[in-house]
């Protein structure tokens, strides 16, 4: 019962973009608090990827719980989280002197979890502690 190691990327999706000015909505959470994985990685994790299961994504910068989804076109070992507060929970703020964080190409470990996905408000409250 182990996790998988992946290279994590984040970026725009059309559902994320459509709800960009609507971030406190359920639609935004459903669109953005997800992790798309390859079929191979889902299989290793014992997940269907139909939106009913959650995964914990852990990087050197932090960890976050998001909904697991089957992504189309991903090679094994590459996972994707739409840009937004959930992805950024695991992105390091160290820009290595260039001003730009590494929003893509992050080494991450993913495992199955029963924990719930935090809302935007809950995530932000955690940062204020």
């Amino acid at each position: 019962m182990g996790g998988v190691r992946v290279i994590l990327i984040s970026g725009r999706t059309i559902e994320q973009g459509t709800n960009l000015e609507n971030k406190l909505s359920e639609a935004y959470k459903n669109a953005v608090a997800v992790c798309e994985l390859s079929e191979e990685d889902l299989k290793k994790l014992g997940l269907k990827g139909d939106g009913s299961e959650r995964v914990r994504v852990r990087t050197a910068a932090g960890e976050v719980v998001v909904t697991a989804k089957k992504g189309a076109g991903y090679p094994e070992g590459v996972a994707f989280i739409p840009m937004g507060p959930w992805a950024n929970a695991v992105v390091s703020a160290d820009t290595k002197g260039a001003g730009m964080p590494f929003f893509k190409g992050i080494e991450a470990e993913i495992e199955k979890t029963e924990e719930e996905v935090l809302s935007v408000e809950e995530l932000m409250r955690r940062y204020a502690e």
């Binding site: 059309i14 000015e21 507060p85 260039a98 730009m100 893509k104 995530l123 940062y127």
Partner: protein
């Protein structure tokens, strides 16, 4: 009766499509035609911040514009190292006043290019940019390369209006007369439409650009059988397509700027474009995200000499991305107040940078509540530029356009809010006899 507005400009992404039709009934937008899903969603609108507010005992309390502006000015005058950040969903007229305010209070001023095409700006300063307008591309480009960019998702009308799917003057058959290549780490929807899809390993774009440069310069023999996960035969095929094209455009996105060598990826992308000049016409363009992210870089360059991440604390513009860029200023816990306008760093900055927003006074100017609102001590709602307020914006190809006011609004424009904050700051400083 519905009133119809034609040729409306879309204030969502760097495409700034200018062929949108909007219907207005009783002062409200009821229909949007011609925009993509993201543009339509923005133009139709969502639930707004209703009133200005000031945080008291942890809760936001509604107040007047005057009161909120006064409080914002007090915070900024009080601060020793304020950060003024955002600017990409507002017009150039607002940028001008924001920069004047930054000079007045010795602030660090930065826009969202910092977490978007900042590396592209750095690369362009290094090696220039052989580019052109989107009109040229529509009419001439018979080979369109999208590299680390998924326009089907991020710039949904881009192919249709400006590139692969557009019928051009010299390419009347549209896609029949054109070829498209997509280079990405995953097979995106855009990749599925391409004549050639090249899958590169995450973070290895630099190597692939280098290999293509070598091939185009006649040094195919030094290229190994596989580079960055791409078989040599695919690289040769792409190089051949470049050589045989009359006009090549490479559009690059965050796949290039966010990973691996970042700005050096872009330098190499530009050098790849140059190498193609040995054979044909070749151009390159960043796929700018926010509709007026480019506009801020333009205005900041005219006024301060630098495009983003400028520190004015010493009384002259000091530019050093990595030190004076917003993520770094926050992560280093350096700034002691922040004015956030027309952007949402709490959603789009790494957690450790966001945490500092919780520690300092934050002024938010935005039409919508978003994660940044959670940290805002002063919230000032604004009119939506391009829908409720007019102004100048720069498209991704640096063509300036005028966005229009379609409907009336009771909300103050960003430009007016910034002008009044600046006046108030000057009034407080004069009263306190501050230099």
């Amino acid at each position: 009766m519905a009133e119809q507005y034609t040729d409306v400009l879309c204030p969502f992404c760097g495409c700034i499509c200018d062929d949108i039709v909007v219907e207005v009934e009783d002062g409200k937008i009821t229909k949007v035609k011609g925009a993509c899903a993201m543009g339509k969603s923005k133009i139709m609108g969502h639930k707004r911040i209703e009133k200005p507010a000031i945080r008291e005992d942890g809760e936001l309390r509604a107040c007047s514009y005057d009161e909120a502006i006064r409080k914002a000015a007090e915070i900024l005058v009080e601060a020793r190292r304020p950060l003024l950040y955002g600017w990409s969903s507002t017009v150039c007229e607002t940028h001008r006043i924001g920069i004047e305010l930054a000079i007045e209070i010795g602030a660090v001023i930065d826009n969202t290019a910092s977490v978007c095409h900042g590396p592209s700006v750095l690369a362009i300063q290094d090696v220039g940019l052989p580019s052109c307008t989107l009109g040229q591309i529509k009419n001439r480009a018979d080979l369109v390369i999208y590299w680390g960019s998924n326009p089907v998702f991020a710039h949904a009308n881009h192919m249709k209006r400006y590139s692969y799917l557009a019928k051009g003057f010299f390419l009347p058959g549209g896609r029949k007369d054109k070829k498209m290549v997509v280079v990405d780490v995953r097979e995106t929807k855009s990749a599925k439409m391409a004549d050639l899809f090249i899958r590169v390993k995450p973070g290895k774009d630099y190597l692939v650009f280098s290999a293509l440069r070598a091939i185009l310069r006649g040094h195919e023999d030094v290229v190994p059988e596989e580079v960055g996960g791409v078989p040599k035969k695919d690289l040769l095929a792409l190089a051949e397509m470049v050589k045989n094209a009359k006009f090549v455009i490479t559009f690059f996105g965050m796949g290039v700027t966010h990973s691996g060598a970042r700005h050096n990826n872009v330098v190499n992308a530009i050098e790849f474009t140059r190498a193609a000049h040995l054979h044909t016409k070749s151009t390159i363009m960043p796929m700018r995200g926010h509709y007026n992210v480019n506009g801020f870089n333009q205005v900041c360059t005219w006024l301060l000499g630098f495009p983003f991440a400028v520190d004015l604390s010493q009384g002259y513009p000091w530019y050093n991305p990595g030190e004076t860029s917003a993520v770094d200023v926050l992560a280093a816990r350096e700034c002691d107040a922040a004015l956030i306008i027309a952007s949402d760093p709490a959603a789009h900055f790494p957690a450790d940078a966001v945490k500092h927003l919780a520690r300092i006074p934050v002024i938010q100017i935005d039409p919508y509540a978003n994660p940044t609102t959670a940290f805002a001590d002063v919230v000032i709602p604004s009119a939506i530029c391009g829908i409720e307020a007019e102004g100048s914006v720069y498209r991704m190809d640096s063509v300036p356009l005028r966005v229009r006011k379609i409907i009336e609004s009771d909300f103050m424009s960003d430009e007016e809010i910034m002008r009044r904050i600046l006046e108030e700051v000057r009034a407080i400083k004069e009263k306190e006899g501050k230099e």
